[in-house]
Structures are given as structure tokens and as C-alpha cells.
């Protein structure tokens, strides 16, 4: 049963990873912390509610588009006017305000309680067994979606023209601009992609738990923030690995009879990791470079 428990932890970790990757993309490229990111995740869950009854791939497309568009809104409302290095805190606060507005609007429409998804007998809710533990097909989808989306992101960054521009902006927005890169467009692309990933994660989380909740952004999003720090700010590999490790550790806490502390796992792991490796597990991201300099 322990093996099954740990595999289950890996699946949970895949979702953490997906959210943390989106967080880390913005900070890695633009050196900005987007506090509205968790609320885009939350809205992804409600896309699952709205799209329930439709084939799941419609929901995936809708979540990607909704998340991406919200990313553009966040970029415009909270970051566009705060481009100076000194305005990072203002931009962070502005993004927090946008996040709070999104939460409030969602609560106005869907209420403050969790909204259940219809219990369906479809393919996603079929079960299979590994090591004595039951898994749902939706958990396979979570792992596959995380792999495809993060793999796709890797290809986008490494193999495409847009990716080269994004990397150039990450290196130095000023130099990139002098070389003819449209920094605004790159910034918008980064927000679109990172928020689309968050919304997909929210959709998957809602499908997994059977409900969407307007509170999820805070709890899940903060965790993703800590995972990003564990992995190394701005490092996609770190966010991925950090998410998986935390998922497994949380599962293991229940095995040890310490389930009440499972929510603390991520914070304890962050403290320990940063004490041992102040730049996180990986340090190739923006902040790693800064600190090396």
C-alpha cells in the first residue's frame, strides 16, 4: 500500500508542478511575482463547472483560452505600467488586487461554498488499481497533461522564435529591445502561457476533486509559490521537481500518522532547502544569475 500511496503522491505533485511552472515562468522571464496567478487557477476550476456536460476536451480548450486571456488582463491591469525595477512591489500589490477582484467576482456568481461537478460515470472517473490503491483515469490525464504542457513549454522556449525572444528578454529586456525584440509582446506571451497553465491546473484539480472552490487559489497557490522557491526562483526544472517531491512528501506524512502536518510539509521543506541551498534546488533562473553576479 505504501508504494501506491507514494505513486498517488506523485500524481498530486504533478498538479503542484503545473502551477509552480506557470509562476516560475513569469518570475524567470520578467522577474515579477504575479499574485493573481492562484486566482486564475481557481477560475480554471469553475471552467470545469461551466463546461460540465460537454466533452472534456472542450473544457481543456476553454480553460486554456480563459486562463490565457485572464493573463493578458492581469498583465495590462497590474504590470504594464510598472516596468521599472523599483516598481516590482507596486506591481505585485496590483496583481494581488486583481486576484482579489477575481475571487470576489467568482463568489458573486458561484457563491462562497464549493460547487460540485456532476458525478459522471464517464471515462475520467473509471478506476484501476496499482499496488492496492485505486486510481482514477483523470489522474492519468493529470500526469499526461502536466507532461505535455511542460514539455510543450520547453519546446516553445528552446526551439521557437518566440522562445528565443522570451529568453532574450529574460537575459536583459533592454538588450532584447535594442535587438528589435518587442518586449511588450513577449511579456504578453509569457503572461498568456503561464496563466493558461494555471487555468489548466485548476481545471484538472476540479476534475480530480469533483468540485470547484473559490478558496482554492489561496491554499494551492501559496503552496506553488513555496515550491517555486524550493526549485529555485525562475527555474522550470526546479518547479517541476519541487512539485513532485512535495506531493510525495505530503502523502508520506499520512503514512507516518502526521496527516495534520501535511499542509506544513511544503513550508518545512522550503525552510530546510533554502537553509542548505539558498538559491533552491536549481539556480539557473533569474535570481540564481543575479546572486552569482
Amino acid at each position: 500500500m505504501l508504494v501506491g500511496l507514494l505513486i498517488n503522491g506523485l500524481v498530486s505533485g504533478a498538479l503542484y508542478a503545473l502551477v509552480a511552472v506557470g509562476f516560475t515562468l513569469v518570475i524567470g522571464v520578467l522577474d515579477k511575482l504575479n499574485f493573481a496567478h492562484p486566482e486564475v487557477l481557481m477560475i480554471g476550476g469553475f471552467v470545469a463547472v461551466v463546461a460540465s456536460g460537454l466533452p472534456p476536451y472542450y473544457a481543456f480548450i476553454a480553460a486554456f483560452a480563459t486562463g490565457g486571456l485572464l493573463g493578458l488582463v492581469v498583465e495590462f491591469a497590474a504590470f504594464r505600467r510598472f516596468t521599472d525595477a523599483d516598481a516590482k512591489i507596486t506591481a505585485g500589490l496590483a496583481s494581488m488586487a486583481v486576484g482579489l477582484v477575481l475571487t470576489d467576482l467568482t463568489q458573486k456568481v458561484f457563491g462562497t461554498e464549493s460547487v460540485s461537478l456532476p458525478i459522471g460515470g464517464g471515462w475520467l472517473s473509471r478506476r484501476f488499481q496499482i499496488a492496492g490503491v485505486e486510481f482514477l483515469n483523470v489522474q492519468i490525464v493529470i500526469v499526461l497533461a502536466t507532461a505535455i504542457l511542460t514539455g510543450g513549454l520547453h519546446v516553445l522556449l528552446q526551439r521557437t522564435r518566440v522562445g528565443r525572444q522570451i529568453r532574450a528578454v529574460a537575459e536583459s529586456p533592454v538588450s532584447a529591445s535594442l535587438l528589435g525584440v518587442n518586449v511588450l509582446r513577449v511579456s504578453q506571451a509569457v503572461f498568456f502561457v503561464s496563466s493558461a497553465l494555471a487555468a489548466e491546473a485548476g481545471l484538472l484539480l476540479a476534475l480530480r476533486s469533483g468540485a470547484a472552490s473559490s478558496d482554492i487559489g489561496l491554499t494551492f497557490g501559496l503552496k506553488a509559490l513555496a515550491i517555486m522557491a524550493i526549485g529555485g526562483l525562475g527555474d522550470l526544472r526546479g518547479a517541476m521537481l519541487g512539485g513532485l517531491v512535495i506531493g510525495v512528501l505530503e502523502a508520506f506524512m499520512f503514512h507516518l500518522g502526521l496527516g495534520r502536518l501535511s499542509e506544513l510539509t511544503v513550508w518545512l521543506a522550503m525552510i530546510v532547502t533554502l537553509m542548505v541551498r539558498p538559491r533552491g534546488l536549481f539556480s539557473s533562473g533569474t535570481h540564481g544569475l543575479e546572486q552569482r553576479a
Binding site: S12, F135, T219, G257
Partner: protein, 398 residues
């Protein structure tokens, strides 16, 4: 001076309005009696607060439609505690300083644990409706209508074992971050042992958990005959889904926390083997302890108000406590000749004295009061009807 036809019409309309409003104005000759309700209208228990507000307002309407109390109408002001003890304290102090004769709420053990001592400090009577943690009601200024878990869990669990006599082993699982839930988890252990059951494991989790699959796997690995759960609806829902995923079919015993609120509206198929402590349903209250005619009248009016915010159908559960709190205040005011002109300080003293003498009260329910200031009603167990989204009495326990 020439008066136009339009002016004459306007004067006539005003005169007619004055005549029409005459009785209401006469009725309001005395200032109203001010009562406060502190309940969560937003936050994680927002839907609980909304249905509570409906029931309390229903009672105020009913009292006022019969002429109010000693010539004064009741005036209810509602404060949103946001499910936050700090906010509940702020509101309570505000009402205490605002000439209110008494207050109702706040909800949950964590909030009542804070407000009940404060009520005694600042001499402001208050009635708790839903807090279930034992030993937190402070006399003489406060009483509690919801029977706490020290009587409800033992009696409810006895009823559960009557329905499931073959249960010999249990696993306890609880949200240990919430006061009532933690207290219930502690009580579960003692009660299981008192009933000769073996506790195989205690699986604790936090209110902030977003994934309880690991808890469900851990519980499954113990293979218990029954599971004892103490959780708020969000975590209850997660557990129900995960138990279903793991194929756990053992009966699940819950505190009254899931009896009220939207759990029954949302849980569907996942909740088929979930049972809760409770003593009234959308159909009726416990025989011998409920004024069935009054209960039916309340149920029929509340069912009409069902919507997304409070659930469809609304789950009546124990919300009639809110109705009874108003009846209780009105009864005290009436017997003591209190009206809106009375001095709030003296009224509060009178209410406190009445709270101290209170042995029995009959409203929707027939309450007996213990020395702790907590009401007593016998605990029972309810089963879900997941198709109709309502709780039902189990035939063997009715």
C-alpha cells in the same frame, strides 16, 4: 391664489398615504427592540449563515405580525462574521455598545469560544445556535441551543451502533485544526472504547487540505468496520469522493457538522454510506421533542426560498434554533414587560437572570437546559437520501 389640479392631486395622494400608513405608524409609536444576529454571510460558511439568517428573520416576522412585544416591534440587525472569530468579536462589541438588548450567534465552536467569555465580561446576553464543542459556554450571560457533542456524540453513536450492530473496529479521521472538530475527534476515541470497539488508527488532517486521497488510502489500509469522521463540508466532500474512489463501503459516522449545510445537496452518490448525528429532517422533527405543526409551517416557508446560495432543496437540519432564539428573547421580554423604551442595561440584566433560571423552553423544539447553560435534546442518527438530497430518520431509531 390659484391651486392647480396637479397640486390638489398630490395633496390628495399624500393624505391617502398618511391614512394608509396610520396603523403602522401607531404601531411604531414605541421604539423597536433591537436584537443582533452575528453569522457568516461570506467566507467558507457563507451558505450556513444565509439559511440561518432566513430562519431568524422568519421568527422576527412572525413575532412582529402578531403585534411585536409589549407594543414594540423587534428589529433585527445582521452582522457578517466572515467565519472569523476576530470579526465576530468586533461585531459583538459594536452591538453591545449600540443599545442592543441581546445577540444571537456567532456560529462555530471557535467563534463561540471567543465571544461567550467576552459576553460575560461586557455584560451582554447572547444565545449560541450552532457551536458544538463541549465546555465552552460561559454562564450566566450566555446560553446555547445546540446540544453540544458531549451528549450528542454518545447518543448519536449508540443510535449508529443500533443500526450497524456488527461494527467492532473503527478508524477515526478528523480535521484537527478546527476547535469543534478536534474536540469531536477526542470524544470519538473515548466513545469507541466505551462501546467496546477497537480504534485501529486516527488519521488527522488540516482544514486547509486540498487533497485527502492519501488520508483515504491510509484508512483503507486499516480495513475498519466503520469510520468516524469529524470535518467541515468542504473536507467532508473531499473525503466522500476519495472513499468512493478507494472503494470504501464501510459506514461513515459523522458529527452534526455535516447535518446542517450544503453537504447533503452536493455529495450525491459519494455520500450513500455517510450518516450524521441529527434530530430533524426536511420532513419532520423528533417525535416528542418537536412542535410538528410549527415545524411544518417553517419547513414549507423555507423550502420556497431554496436557491443556489442555500441549496435546493434547502436543508432545514438544525436551523430552527435561530427561530427559537427569537421566540425565547420575545418570551423573556414579554413576561418582564420590556419594550423598546426600556433601559438596555437593565434589560440585559433581566435577560441574564432569566438565562440563569432557564430549565425548559418550548419553541419549535422542546429544550431542557443543563447547568452549563447548554440545551439538551436527545441525539439520533440520520441517513442520506442522495436522490432527494435530504437527510432521513432511520426506521430502527425513530
Amino acid at each position: 391664489m390659484r391651486i392647480s389640479r396637479r397640486t390638489i392631486l398630490a395633496i390628495g395622494a399624500c393624505a391617502l398615504a398618511a391614512v394608509a400608513n396610520g396603523p403602522a405608524e401607531a404601531q411604531q409609536a414605541k421604539p423597536p427592540i433591537k436584537l443582533a444576529l452575528i453569522t457568516p454571510l461570506t467566507g467558507p460558511l457563507g451558505s450556513y449563515g444565509k439559511i440561518q439568517e432566513i430562519l431568524v428573520k422568519l421568527a422576527v416576522e412572525d413575532v412582529n405580525s402578531k403585534g411585536g412585544v409589549n407594543g414594540s416591534l423587534l428589529q433585527l440587525d445582521v452582522g457578517d462574521s466572515q467565519t472569523d472569530p476576530g470579526q465576530a468579536v468586533v461585531l459583538f462589541r459594536r452591538y453591545a455598545g449600540g443599545g442592543y438588548f441581546g445577540s444571537i450567534g456567532p456560529m462555530t465552536g471557535t467563534q463561540w469560544e471567543t465571544v461567550s467569555p467576552l459576553a460575560n465580561q461586557i455584560a451582554m446576553p447572547s444565545i449560541a445556535l450552532n457551536a458544538i464543542k463541549p465546555g465552552i459556554n460561559v454562564r450566566p450571560w450566555t446560553i446555547r441551543l445546540q446540544p453540544p457533542d458531549d451528549t450528542q456524540i454518545p447518543e448519536g453513536f449508540k443510535a449508529f451502533l443500533k443500526a450497524f450492530p456488527n461494527v467492532k473496529t473503527v478508524v477515526i479521521t478528523a480535521d484537527v485544526r478546527e476547535a469543534s472538530s478536534k474536540a469531536a475527534a477526542d470524544a470519538f476515541k473515548t466513545i469507541a472504547q466505551d462501546n467496546g470497539l477497537q480504534v485501529l488508527d486516527t488519521v488527522e488532517f488540516s482544514s486547509k487540505s486540498t487533497d485527502l486521497s492519501s488520508a483515504a488510502i491510509q484508512i483503507k489500509s486499516r480495513n475498519p468496520d466503520a469510520i468516524m469522521v469529524s470535518a467541515f463540508p468542504a473536507q467532508g466532500m473531499l473525503l466522500a469522493k476519495e472513499f468512493h474512489t478507494q472503494g470504501i463501503t464501510a459506514p461513515v459516522f459523522n458529527t452534526s457538522t455535516l447535518w446542517s449545510g450544503p453537504f447533503i445537496n452536493m455529495v450525491g452518490e459519494y455520500g450513500r454510506n455517510w450518516y450524521v448525528i441529527g434530530f430533524s429532517t426536511n420532513a419532520d422533527g423528533m417525535p416528542g421533542y418537536t412542535d410538528q405543526a410549527l415545524y411544518q409551517s417553517i419547513v414549507s416557508r423555507v423550502l420556497e426560498k431554496g436557491d443556489q446560495a442555500i441549496g435546493v432543496p434547502p436543508n432545514l437540519a438544525n436551523w430552527s434554533f435561530g427561530y427559537d432564539a427569537i421566540l425565547l428573547y420575545a418570551d423573556i421580554f414579554r413576561r418582564n414587560g420590556i419594550d423598546g423604551t426600556s433601559d438596555p442595561k437593565k434589560v440585559r440584566e433581566t435577560v441574564k437572570d432569566e438565562f440563569s433560571k432557564l430549565k425548559e423552553f418550548v419553541g419549535v423544539y422542546r429544550y431542557k437546559f443543563r447547568d452549563t447553560g447548554d440545551a439538551y435534546l436527545p441525539g439520533n442518527i440520520l441517513r442520506p437520501n442522495v436522490e432527494k438530497k435530504v437527510w432521513e430518520f432511520m426506521p430502527e431509531n425513530k
